[in-house]
Symmetry: C2
Subunit: 282 residues, 2 copies
Protein backbone atom coordinates (compact mmCIF):
# COMPACT_ATOMS: atom_id res chain seq x y z
CA UNK A 1 0.00 0.00 0.00
CA UNK A 2 1.29 3.48 -0.81
CA UNK A 3 2.51 5.71 1.99
CA UNK A 4 -0.12 8.04 3.46
CA UNK A 5 -0.05 11.58 1.98
CA UNK A 6 1.61 10.34 -1.24
CA UNK A 7 0.03 9.82 -4.69
CA UNK A 8 -2.06 12.93 -4.43
CA UNK A 9 -4.70 13.01 -7.17
CA UNK A 10 -4.29 16.79 -7.44
CA UNK A 11 -2.99 18.70 -10.43
CA UNK A 12 -1.61 21.87 -8.78
CA UNK A 13 -2.15 23.74 -12.07
CA UNK A 14 0.99 25.82 -11.59
CA UNK A 15 0.75 27.22 -15.12
CA UNK A 16 -2.78 28.58 -14.58
CA UNK A 17 -3.25 29.50 -10.93
CA UNK A 18 -1.51 32.87 -11.40
CA UNK A 19 -4.54 34.11 -13.35
CA UNK A 20 -7.19 35.48 -10.93
CA UNK A 21 -9.92 35.07 -13.58
CA UNK A 22 -9.06 31.40 -13.90
CA UNK A 23 -9.34 30.97 -10.10
CA UNK A 24 -12.68 32.86 -10.15
CA UNK A 25 -13.90 30.48 -12.86
CA UNK A 26 -13.02 27.50 -10.65
CA UNK A 27 -14.92 29.04 -7.76
CA UNK A 28 -18.03 29.23 -9.98
CA UNK A 29 -17.63 25.55 -10.97
CA UNK A 30 -20.46 23.54 -9.35
CA UNK A 31 -18.10 20.57 -8.90
CA UNK A 32 -15.77 22.65 -6.67
CA UNK A 33 -15.33 21.41 -3.10
CA UNK A 34 -13.78 23.17 -0.12
CA UNK A 35 -12.15 21.18 2.66
CA UNK A 36 -12.99 22.92 5.95
CA UNK A 37 -10.18 22.90 8.52
CA UNK A 38 -9.66 24.34 11.98
CA UNK A 39 -6.10 24.48 13.32
CA UNK A 40 -4.98 22.46 10.31
CA UNK A 41 -7.36 19.54 10.95
CA UNK A 42 -10.60 18.83 9.10
CA UNK A 43 -13.98 19.47 10.62
CA UNK A 44 -16.33 16.49 10.71
CA UNK A 45 -19.02 16.32 8.06
CA UNK A 46 -22.52 14.94 8.63
CA UNK A 47 -21.18 11.40 8.19
CA UNK A 48 -18.15 11.95 10.45
CA UNK A 49 -15.83 12.07 7.42
CA UNK A 50 -13.88 15.30 6.66
CA UNK A 51 -16.28 18.14 5.89
CA UNK A 52 -16.33 19.36 2.28
CA UNK A 53 -18.31 22.57 1.70
CA UNK A 54 -19.58 24.20 -1.47
CA UNK A 55 -17.84 27.44 -2.45
CA UNK A 56 -20.73 29.67 -1.28
CA UNK A 57 -20.91 27.82 2.06
CA UNK A 58 -17.16 28.18 2.51
CA UNK A 59 -17.12 31.85 1.51
CA UNK A 60 -19.68 32.55 4.22
CA UNK A 61 -17.58 30.84 6.90
CA UNK A 62 -13.91 31.24 5.85
CA UNK A 63 -11.49 33.10 8.09
CA UNK A 64 -8.47 34.88 6.51
CA UNK A 65 -6.87 34.22 4.03
CA UNK A 66 -10.14 32.89 2.55
CA UNK A 67 -10.27 30.02 0.06
CA UNK A 68 -6.89 28.51 -0.87
CA UNK A 69 -6.68 26.58 -4.14
CA UNK A 70 -5.24 23.08 -3.74
CA UNK A 71 -5.55 21.66 -7.24
CA UNK A 72 -7.80 19.80 -9.66
CA UNK A 73 -8.92 16.20 -9.14
CA UNK A 74 -9.98 14.85 -12.55
CA UNK A 75 -10.82 18.43 -13.47
CA UNK A 76 -12.85 19.17 -10.34
CA UNK A 77 -11.41 21.99 -8.19
CA UNK A 78 -10.42 21.48 -4.56
CA UNK A 79 -9.99 24.42 -2.21
CA UNK A 80 -9.33 24.59 1.52
CA UNK A 81 -10.39 27.15 4.09
CA UNK A 82 -10.00 27.70 7.80
CA UNK A 83 -13.37 27.94 9.53
CA UNK A 84 -14.44 27.99 13.18
CA UNK A 85 -15.41 24.72 14.77
CA UNK A 86 -14.17 21.63 16.56
CA UNK A 87 -11.88 19.58 14.33
CA UNK A 88 -11.27 15.87 14.01
CA UNK A 89 -7.98 14.40 15.21
CA UNK A 90 -5.83 14.95 12.11
CA UNK A 91 -3.76 11.76 12.36
CA UNK A 92 -6.78 9.56 12.92
CA UNK A 93 -8.68 11.26 10.09
CA UNK A 94 -5.70 10.81 7.74
CA UNK A 95 -5.33 7.14 8.73
CA UNK A 96 -8.96 6.33 8.00
CA UNK A 97 -9.63 8.52 4.93
CA UNK A 98 -9.36 7.04 1.42
CA UNK A 99 -5.71 7.53 0.28
CA UNK A 100 -6.52 10.25 -2.27
CA UNK A 101 -8.47 12.28 0.27
CA UNK A 102 -5.71 11.84 2.87
CA UNK A 103 -3.21 13.32 0.40
CA UNK A 104 -5.55 16.26 -0.28
CA UNK A 105 -5.97 16.79 3.48
CA UNK A 106 -2.19 16.79 3.90
CA UNK A 107 -1.70 19.46 1.27
CA UNK A 108 -4.61 21.47 2.71
CA UNK A 109 -3.10 21.31 6.21
CA UNK A 110 0.40 22.40 5.07
CA UNK A 111 -0.98 25.28 2.99
CA UNK A 112 -3.39 26.59 5.64
CA UNK A 113 -0.90 26.27 8.51
CA UNK A 114 1.63 28.17 6.42
CA UNK A 115 -0.93 30.92 5.74
CA UNK A 116 -1.95 30.95 9.41
CA UNK A 117 1.51 32.20 10.35
CA UNK A 118 2.30 34.38 7.35
CA UNK A 119 -0.13 37.28 7.64
CA UNK A 120 2.77 39.75 7.90
CA UNK A 121 5.78 40.31 5.67
CA UNK A 122 8.93 39.03 7.43
CA UNK A 123 10.97 41.64 5.57
CA UNK A 124 9.11 44.81 6.58
CA UNK A 125 6.19 43.87 8.86
CA UNK A 126 3.40 45.05 6.51
CA UNK A 127 0.35 42.88 5.86
CA UNK A 128 0.76 40.44 2.95
CA UNK A 129 -1.64 40.13 0.00
CA UNK A 130 -2.74 36.69 -1.26
CA UNK A 131 -1.90 35.78 -4.88
CA UNK A 132 -2.08 32.71 -7.16
CA UNK A 133 -5.07 31.26 -5.34
CA UNK A 134 -2.99 31.19 -2.15
CA UNK A 135 0.21 29.68 -3.58
CA UNK A 136 2.04 33.01 -3.19
CA UNK A 137 1.98 36.00 -0.88
CA UNK A 138 3.16 39.44 -1.93
CA UNK A 139 3.96 42.35 0.34
CA UNK A 140 2.25 45.51 -0.94
CA UNK A 141 4.76 47.66 0.94
CA UNK A 142 8.23 46.26 0.08
CA UNK A 143 7.23 43.93 -2.79
CA UNK A 144 8.76 40.79 -1.30
CA UNK A 145 7.25 37.50 -2.49
CA UNK A 146 6.66 34.66 -0.04
CA UNK A 147 6.17 31.02 -1.05
CA UNK A 148 4.95 28.07 1.04
CA UNK A 149 7.63 26.32 3.04
CA UNK A 150 8.56 22.69 2.51
CA UNK A 151 11.06 21.64 5.16
CA UNK A 152 13.26 18.74 4.07
CA UNK A 153 13.99 16.32 6.90
CA UNK A 154 16.05 13.16 6.89
CA UNK A 155 14.75 9.96 8.50
CA UNK A 156 16.96 6.88 8.54
CA UNK A 157 17.19 3.28 9.49
CA UNK A 158 20.76 3.26 10.80
CA UNK A 159 22.30 -0.18 11.08
CA UNK A 160 25.55 -2.02 11.62
CA UNK A 161 25.26 -5.43 10.02
CA UNK A 162 22.40 -7.28 11.70
CA UNK A 163 21.59 -4.62 14.30
CA UNK A 164 19.68 -1.37 13.91
CA UNK A 165 19.98 1.64 16.21
CA UNK A 166 16.60 3.11 17.15
CA UNK A 167 15.66 5.98 19.42
CA UNK A 168 12.96 6.83 21.87
CA UNK A 169 11.58 10.26 22.74
CA UNK A 170 10.17 11.16 26.16
CA UNK A 171 6.43 10.57 26.49
CA UNK A 172 6.17 7.83 23.88
CA UNK A 173 4.08 4.69 24.59
CA UNK A 174 5.88 1.96 26.55
CA UNK A 175 8.39 0.03 24.47
CA UNK A 176 8.10 2.40 21.49
CA UNK A 177 11.31 3.12 19.56
CA UNK A 178 11.60 4.54 16.05
CA UNK A 179 14.03 5.50 13.32
CA UNK A 180 16.15 8.60 13.90
CA UNK A 181 15.11 11.82 12.13
CA UNK A 182 15.68 15.55 11.98
CA UNK A 183 15.46 18.70 9.89
CA UNK A 184 18.05 19.45 7.24
CA UNK A 185 20.10 22.64 7.67
CA UNK A 186 21.41 25.12 5.08
CA UNK A 187 24.65 23.89 3.52
CA UNK A 188 24.11 20.12 3.64
CA UNK A 189 23.44 17.35 1.14
CA UNK A 190 20.82 14.74 2.07
CA UNK A 191 23.53 12.22 2.94
CA UNK A 192 25.46 14.78 5.03
CA UNK A 193 22.33 15.72 6.98
CA UNK A 194 21.76 12.00 7.62
CA UNK A 195 25.28 11.63 9.03
CA UNK A 196 24.94 14.75 11.20
CA UNK A 197 21.58 13.68 12.65
CA UNK A 198 22.73 10.14 13.48
CA UNK A 199 25.81 11.56 15.20
CA UNK A 200 23.87 14.24 17.09
CA UNK A 201 21.28 11.76 18.35
CA UNK A 202 23.49 8.73 19.10
CA UNK A 203 27.18 9.62 18.77
CA UNK A 204 27.56 6.96 16.03
CA UNK A 205 29.31 7.68 12.72
CA UNK A 206 27.60 6.99 9.38
CA UNK A 207 29.82 5.24 6.84
CA UNK A 208 27.29 4.98 3.95
CA UNK A 209 23.73 6.14 3.23
CA UNK A 210 21.26 5.25 0.49
CA UNK A 211 18.03 7.08 -0.41
CA UNK A 212 14.95 4.86 -0.29
CA UNK A 213 11.77 6.98 -0.55
CA UNK A 214 10.22 10.29 0.47
CA UNK A 215 6.89 11.34 1.96
CA UNK A 216 5.17 14.68 2.45
CA UNK A 217 4.59 15.01 6.20
CA UNK A 218 2.12 17.79 7.02
CA UNK A 219 3.20 18.46 10.63
CA UNK A 220 3.12 21.16 9.45
CA UNK A 221 5.21 21.15 6.27
CA UNK A 222 7.98 18.57 6.27
CA UNK A 223 9.27 16.48 3.42
CA UNK A 224 10.55 13.26 4.99
CA UNK A 225 13.51 11.91 3.02
CA UNK A 226 14.04 8.28 3.99
CA UNK A 227 17.44 6.58 3.93
CA UNK A 228 19.10 3.37 5.00
CA UNK A 229 22.42 4.22 6.64
CA UNK A 230 25.33 2.06 7.70
CA UNK A 231 27.05 3.16 10.89
CA UNK A 232 30.33 2.21 12.53
CA UNK A 233 29.93 -0.05 15.55
CA UNK A 234 29.84 1.50 19.01
CA UNK A 235 27.69 2.19 22.04
CA UNK A 236 24.90 4.62 21.16
CA UNK A 237 24.46 7.52 23.60
CA UNK A 238 21.02 9.15 23.49
CA UNK A 239 21.33 12.90 22.92
CA UNK A 240 19.38 15.78 21.44
CA UNK A 241 15.63 15.05 21.70
CA UNK A 242 16.06 11.35 22.61
CA UNK A 243 15.73 9.79 26.06
CA UNK A 244 17.17 6.48 24.89
CA UNK A 245 18.92 5.01 21.85
CA UNK A 246 19.91 1.37 21.62
CA UNK A 247 20.74 -1.49 19.32
CA UNK A 248 17.95 -3.82 18.17
CA UNK A 249 18.63 -7.21 16.61
CA UNK A 250 16.60 -8.13 13.53
CA UNK A 251 14.36 -10.32 15.71
CA UNK A 252 13.80 -7.49 18.22
CA UNK A 253 13.14 -5.04 15.39
CA UNK A 254 10.60 -7.41 13.89
CA UNK A 255 8.75 -7.66 17.23
CA UNK A 256 8.78 -3.87 17.54
CA UNK A 257 7.54 -3.53 13.98
CA UNK A 258 4.77 -6.13 14.21
CA UNK A 259 3.67 -5.41 17.77
CA UNK A 260 4.37 -1.97 19.33
CA UNK A 261 4.44 0.02 16.07
CA UNK A 262 1.34 -1.72 14.75
CA UNK A 263 -0.65 -0.34 17.69
CA UNK A 264 0.73 3.15 17.00
CA UNK A 265 -0.22 3.58 13.34
CA UNK A 266 -0.95 1.49 10.23
CA UNK A 267 2.19 0.25 8.43
CA UNK A 268 1.81 2.62 5.49
CA UNK A 269 1.38 5.73 7.66
CA UNK A 270 5.02 6.79 7.73
CA UNK A 271 8.19 6.18 5.78
CA UNK A 272 9.79 5.03 9.04
CA UNK A 273 7.94 1.73 8.79
CA UNK A 274 8.89 1.32 5.14
CA UNK A 275 12.56 1.80 6.04
CA UNK A 276 12.36 -0.85 8.76
CA UNK A 277 10.51 -3.21 6.42
CA UNK A 278 13.15 -2.64 3.72
CA UNK A 279 16.00 -3.34 6.14
CA UNK A 280 14.34 -6.48 7.53
CA UNK A 281 14.26 -7.84 3.98
CA UNK A 282 17.88 -6.86 3.22
CA UNK B 1 35.74 16.08 -7.84
CA UNK B 2 32.98 16.72 -5.31
CA UNK B 3 30.13 19.04 -6.18
CA UNK B 4 30.62 22.66 -5.15
CA UNK B 5 28.97 23.56 -1.78
CA UNK B 6 29.06 19.90 -0.62
CA UNK B 7 31.41 18.26 1.92
CA UNK B 8 31.32 21.25 4.22
CA UNK B 9 34.03 20.95 6.88
CA UNK B 10 31.69 22.56 9.42
CA UNK B 11 30.28 20.94 12.52
CA UNK B 12 27.06 22.94 13.04
CA UNK B 13 27.22 22.10 16.78
CA UNK B 14 23.44 21.81 17.06
CA UNK B 15 23.67 20.40 20.59
CA UNK B 16 25.65 23.39 21.88
CA UNK B 17 24.70 26.51 19.92
CA UNK B 18 21.54 27.05 22.03
CA UNK B 19 23.75 28.11 24.95
CA UNK B 20 24.58 31.85 24.71
CA UNK B 21 27.60 31.42 26.99
CA UNK B 22 29.00 28.79 24.64
CA UNK B 23 28.59 31.16 21.68
CA UNK B 24 30.25 33.97 23.71
CA UNK B 25 33.14 31.63 24.42
CA UNK B 26 33.58 30.98 20.70
CA UNK B 27 33.60 34.72 20.02
CA UNK B 28 36.48 35.09 22.47
CA UNK B 29 38.42 32.29 20.73
CA UNK B 30 41.43 33.82 18.91
CA UNK B 31 41.06 31.22 16.12
CA UNK B 32 37.53 32.49 15.31
CA UNK B 33 37.04 33.88 11.80
CA UNK B 34 34.13 35.90 10.41
CA UNK B 35 33.27 35.74 6.73
CA UNK B 36 32.23 39.24 5.64
CA UNK B 37 29.39 39.36 3.10
CA UNK B 38 27.40 42.05 1.39
CA UNK B 39 24.12 41.05 -0.30
CA UNK B 40 25.04 37.41 0.32
CA UNK B 41 28.41 37.59 -1.49
CA UNK B 42 31.83 37.78 0.14
CA UNK B 43 33.85 40.96 0.24
CA UNK B 44 37.35 40.74 -1.23
CA UNK B 45 40.21 40.42 1.24
CA UNK B 46 43.64 41.99 0.75
CA UNK B 47 44.64 39.08 -1.53
CA UNK B 48 41.36 39.16 -3.53
CA UNK B 49 40.13 35.99 -1.78
CA UNK B 50 36.98 36.16 0.40
CA UNK B 51 37.52 38.48 3.36
CA UNK B 52 37.73 36.84 6.80
CA UNK B 53 37.69 39.25 9.73
CA UNK B 54 38.53 38.77 13.39
CA UNK B 55 35.59 38.90 15.80
CA UNK B 56 36.42 42.43 17.06
CA UNK B 57 36.82 43.70 13.47
CA UNK B 58 33.49 42.12 12.52
CA UNK B 59 31.69 43.40 15.61
CA UNK B 60 32.73 46.94 14.67
CA UNK B 61 31.36 46.61 11.13
CA UNK B 62 28.45 44.11 11.30
CA UNK B 63 24.96 45.22 10.30
CA UNK B 64 21.93 43.49 11.91
CA UNK B 65 21.57 40.65 12.90
CA UNK B 66 25.26 40.78 13.88
CA UNK B 67 27.51 37.73 13.87
CA UNK B 68 25.84 34.48 12.80
CA UNK B 69 27.48 31.22 13.89
CA UNK B 70 28.17 28.84 11.00
CA UNK B 71 30.00 25.99 12.70
CA UNK B 72 33.37 24.65 13.78
CA UNK B 73 36.13 23.68 11.35
CA UNK B 74 38.50 21.35 13.20
CA UNK B 75 37.43 23.12 16.39
CA UNK B 76 37.93 26.67 15.04
CA UNK B 77 34.73 28.76 14.97
CA UNK B 78 33.39 30.29 11.77
CA UNK B 79 30.88 33.13 11.86
CA UNK B 80 29.41 35.28 9.11
CA UNK B 81 28.27 38.87 9.12
CA UNK B 82 26.79 41.33 6.69
CA UNK B 83 28.97 44.43 6.36
CA UNK B 84 28.93 47.39 3.99
CA UNK B 85 31.14 47.23 0.92
CA UNK B 86 31.42 46.06 -2.64
CA UNK B 87 31.23 42.28 -2.87
CA UNK B 88 32.86 39.76 -5.18
CA UNK B 89 30.72 37.93 -7.76
CA UNK B 90 29.44 35.06 -5.65
CA UNK B 91 29.46 32.40 -8.38
CA UNK B 92 32.96 33.24 -9.49
CA UNK B 93 34.20 33.35 -5.90
CA UNK B 94 32.60 29.96 -5.18
CA UNK B 95 34.09 28.45 -8.35
CA UNK B 96 37.62 29.54 -7.50
CA UNK B 97 37.66 29.10 -3.70
CA UNK B 98 39.09 25.91 -2.16
CA UNK B 99 36.14 23.42 -1.85
CA UNK B 100 35.87 23.66 1.95
CA UNK B 101 35.75 27.45 1.86
CA UNK B 102 33.17 27.38 -0.96
CA UNK B 103 30.92 25.20 1.22
CA UNK B 104 31.34 27.60 4.16
CA UNK B 105 30.53 30.54 1.84
CA UNK B 106 27.39 28.73 0.67
CA UNK B 107 26.14 28.19 4.21
CA UNK B 108 27.04 31.79 5.12
CA UNK B 109 25.11 33.13 2.13
CA UNK B 110 21.97 31.06 2.85
CA UNK B 111 21.98 32.00 6.54
CA UNK B 112 22.58 35.73 6.01
CA UNK B 113 20.10 36.05 3.14
CA UNK B 114 17.50 34.33 5.32
CA UNK B 115 18.21 36.74 8.16
CA UNK B 116 18.17 39.68 5.76
CA UNK B 117 14.49 39.07 5.06
CA UNK B 118 13.36 37.85 8.47
CA UNK B 119 13.65 40.91 10.69
CA UNK B 120 9.91 40.81 11.43
CA UNK B 121 7.68 38.03 12.71
CA UNK B 122 5.46 36.74 9.89
CA UNK B 123 2.82 35.82 12.45
CA UNK B 124 2.34 39.18 14.19
CA UNK B 125 4.65 41.76 12.60
CA UNK B 126 6.80 42.41 15.71
CA UNK B 127 10.60 42.50 15.49
CA UNK B 128 12.28 39.10 15.94
CA UNK B 129 15.05 38.34 18.44
CA UNK B 130 18.11 36.30 17.39
CA UNK B 131 18.76 33.02 19.26
CA UNK B 132 21.12 30.01 18.98
CA UNK B 133 23.89 32.06 17.41
CA UNK B 134 21.53 32.94 14.54
CA UNK B 135 20.11 29.45 13.88
CA UNK B 136 16.73 30.48 15.31
CA UNK B 137 14.61 33.60 15.59
CA UNK B 138 12.01 34.09 18.30
CA UNK B 139 9.25 36.67 18.34
CA UNK B 140 9.20 38.47 21.70
CA UNK B 141 5.57 39.45 21.12
CA UNK B 142 3.75 36.23 20.06
CA UNK B 143 6.47 33.69 20.89
CA UNK B 144 6.64 32.16 17.43
CA UNK B 145 9.93 30.47 16.51
CA UNK B 146 11.39 30.86 13.02
CA UNK B 147 14.02 28.54 11.53
CA UNK B 148 16.15 28.99 8.38
CA UNK B 149 14.48 27.87 5.17
CA UNK B 150 15.84 25.09 3.01
CA UNK B 151 13.79 24.88 -0.18
CA UNK B 152 13.86 21.42 -1.77
CA UNK B 153 13.96 21.56 -5.56
CA UNK B 154 14.03 18.74 -8.07
CA UNK B 155 16.46 18.78 -11.00
CA UNK B 156 16.38 15.98 -13.53
CA UNK B 157 17.95 14.53 -16.60
CA UNK B 158 14.76 13.42 -18.39
CA UNK B 159 15.36 10.92 -21.18
CA UNK B 160 13.63 8.52 -23.51
CA UNK B 161 16.10 5.83 -24.48
CA UNK B 162 19.02 7.50 -26.24
CA UNK B 163 17.61 11.04 -26.22
CA UNK B 164 17.46 13.56 -23.39
CA UNK B 165 15.04 16.47 -23.19
CA UNK B 166 16.73 19.71 -22.14
CA UNK B 167 15.39 23.21 -21.74
CA UNK B 168 16.54 26.73 -22.35
CA UNK B 169 15.56 29.89 -20.46
CA UNK B 170 15.42 33.35 -22.04
CA UNK B 171 18.67 35.30 -21.79
CA UNK B 172 20.98 32.29 -21.58
CA UNK B 173 24.21 32.23 -23.65
CA UNK B 174 23.78 31.05 -27.24
CA UNK B 175 23.31 27.31 -27.55
CA UNK B 176 22.95 26.80 -23.80
CA UNK B 177 20.43 24.17 -22.66
CA UNK B 178 20.21 22.52 -19.26
CA UNK B 179 18.37 19.92 -17.21
CA UNK B 180 14.83 20.77 -16.13
CA UNK B 181 14.31 21.91 -12.54
CA UNK B 182 11.84 23.49 -10.15
CA UNK B 183 10.78 23.95 -6.54
CA UNK B 184 8.89 21.21 -4.73
CA UNK B 185 5.41 22.06 -3.47
CA UNK B 186 3.59 20.99 -0.28
CA UNK B 187 2.01 17.56 -0.68
CA UNK B 188 4.49 15.92 -3.07
CA UNK B 189 7.12 13.21 -2.89
CA UNK B 190 10.45 13.86 -4.63
CA UNK B 191 9.44 11.59 -7.54
CA UNK B 192 6.00 13.23 -7.83
CA UNK B 193 7.57 16.71 -7.94
CA UNK B 194 9.91 15.46 -10.67
CA UNK B 195 6.96 14.25 -12.76
CA UNK B 196 5.03 17.49 -12.23
CA UNK B 197 7.98 19.69 -13.20
CA UNK B 198 8.80 17.73 -16.36
CA UNK B 199 5.14 17.89 -17.40
CA UNK B 200 4.81 21.60 -16.59
CA UNK B 201 7.95 22.52 -18.51
CA UNK B 202 7.67 20.19 -21.53
CA UNK B 203 4.28 18.42 -21.55
CA UNK B 204 6.07 15.04 -21.38
CA UNK B 205 5.04 12.31 -18.92
CA UNK B 206 7.56 10.73 -16.55
CA UNK B 207 7.33 6.94 -16.34
CA UNK B 208 10.16 6.32 -13.83
CA UNK B 209 12.55 8.41 -11.71
CA UNK B 210 15.65 7.53 -9.72
CA UNK B 211 17.45 9.70 -7.14
CA UNK B 212 21.12 10.30 -7.94
CA UNK B 213 22.57 12.99 -5.65
CA UNK B 214 21.78 16.25 -3.89
CA UNK B 215 23.53 19.59 -3.53
CA UNK B 216 22.98 22.65 -1.34
CA UNK B 217 22.39 25.55 -3.72
CA UNK B 218 22.67 28.91 -1.95
CA UNK B 219 20.60 31.00 -4.41
CA UNK B 220 19.45 31.74 -1.77
CA UNK B 221 18.50 28.53 0.07
CA UNK B 222 17.70 25.64 -2.25
CA UNK B 223 18.47 21.98 -1.83
CA UNK B 224 18.84 20.58 -5.35
CA UNK B 225 17.66 16.96 -5.48
CA UNK B 226 19.00 15.37 -8.64
CA UNK B 227 17.20 12.56 -10.48
CA UNK B 228 17.38 10.63 -13.73
CA UNK B 229 13.87 10.33 -15.14
CA UNK B 230 12.46 8.27 -17.97
CA UNK B 231 9.75 9.98 -19.98
CA UNK B 232 7.26 8.73 -22.56
CA UNK B 233 8.12 9.70 -26.13
CA UNK B 234 6.54 12.79 -27.60
CA UNK B 235 7.20 16.30 -28.87
CA UNK B 236 8.31 18.56 -26.00
CA UNK B 237 6.51 21.91 -25.80
CA UNK B 238 8.42 24.60 -23.88
CA UNK B 239 6.25 26.05 -21.11
CA UNK B 240 6.56 27.70 -17.72
CA UNK B 241 9.92 29.53 -17.52
CA UNK B 242 11.39 27.92 -20.67
CA UNK B 243 11.72 29.51 -24.12
CA UNK B 244 12.64 26.19 -25.74
CA UNK B 245 12.73 22.50 -24.89
CA UNK B 246 13.98 19.86 -27.30
CA UNK B 247 15.44 16.40 -27.67
CA UNK B 248 19.21 15.95 -27.68
CA UNK B 249 20.88 12.76 -28.90
CA UNK B 250 23.72 11.40 -26.78
CA UNK B 251 26.21 12.87 -29.26
CA UNK B 252 24.54 16.30 -29.12
CA UNK B 253 24.37 16.13 -25.34
CA UNK B 254 28.08 15.31 -25.20
CA UNK B 255 28.91 18.33 -27.34
CA UNK B 256 26.74 20.55 -25.14
CA UNK B 257 28.38 19.11 -22.03
CA UNK B 258 31.97 19.42 -23.26
CA UNK B 259 31.64 22.68 -25.13
CA UNK B 260 28.83 25.13 -24.19
CA UNK B 261 28.45 24.05 -20.56
CA UNK B 262 32.20 23.97 -19.99
CA UNK B 263 32.36 27.69 -20.80
CA UNK B 264 29.50 28.34 -18.36
CA UNK B 265 30.88 26.74 -15.19
CA UNK B 266 33.32 24.03 -14.11
CA UNK B 267 31.89 20.47 -14.32
CA UNK B 268 31.56 20.04 -10.56
CA UNK B 269 29.71 23.33 -10.05
CA UNK B 270 26.19 21.95 -10.24
CA UNK B 271 24.44 18.62 -9.93
CA UNK B 272 23.01 19.23 -13.42
CA UNK B 273 26.38 18.33 -14.95
CA UNK B 274 26.68 15.23 -12.75
CA UNK B 275 23.27 14.06 -13.98
CA UNK B 276 24.25 14.51 -17.61
CA UNK B 277 27.57 12.76 -17.01
CA UNK B 278 25.77 9.88 -15.29
CA UNK B 279 23.29 9.51 -18.15
CA UNK B 280 26.03 9.65 -20.81
CA UNK B 281 27.65 6.67 -19.10
CA UNK B 282 24.38 4.70 -18.78
Amino acid sequence: MDLTFTRSPLDHAGLFRGDPDWIDGLMADPSARVLALSGGAPLPGPDGAPLALTVPEAQARALPPGLVFLGLEDGAPWFAATVEGEALDFRRAAMTAPPGLAAIMGRARSMLMWHGRRRFCSNCGAENTVRDGGARLVCPSCGMEHFPRTDPSVIMLAHHGDRAVLGRQPGWPEGMYATLAGFMEPGETIEEACAREVFEETGLRVTAARYVASQPWPFPSSLMIGLIAEVADGAPVARDDLEDARWFTRAETRVLYEDVMARWAPPHFSVSRLLIETWLKM
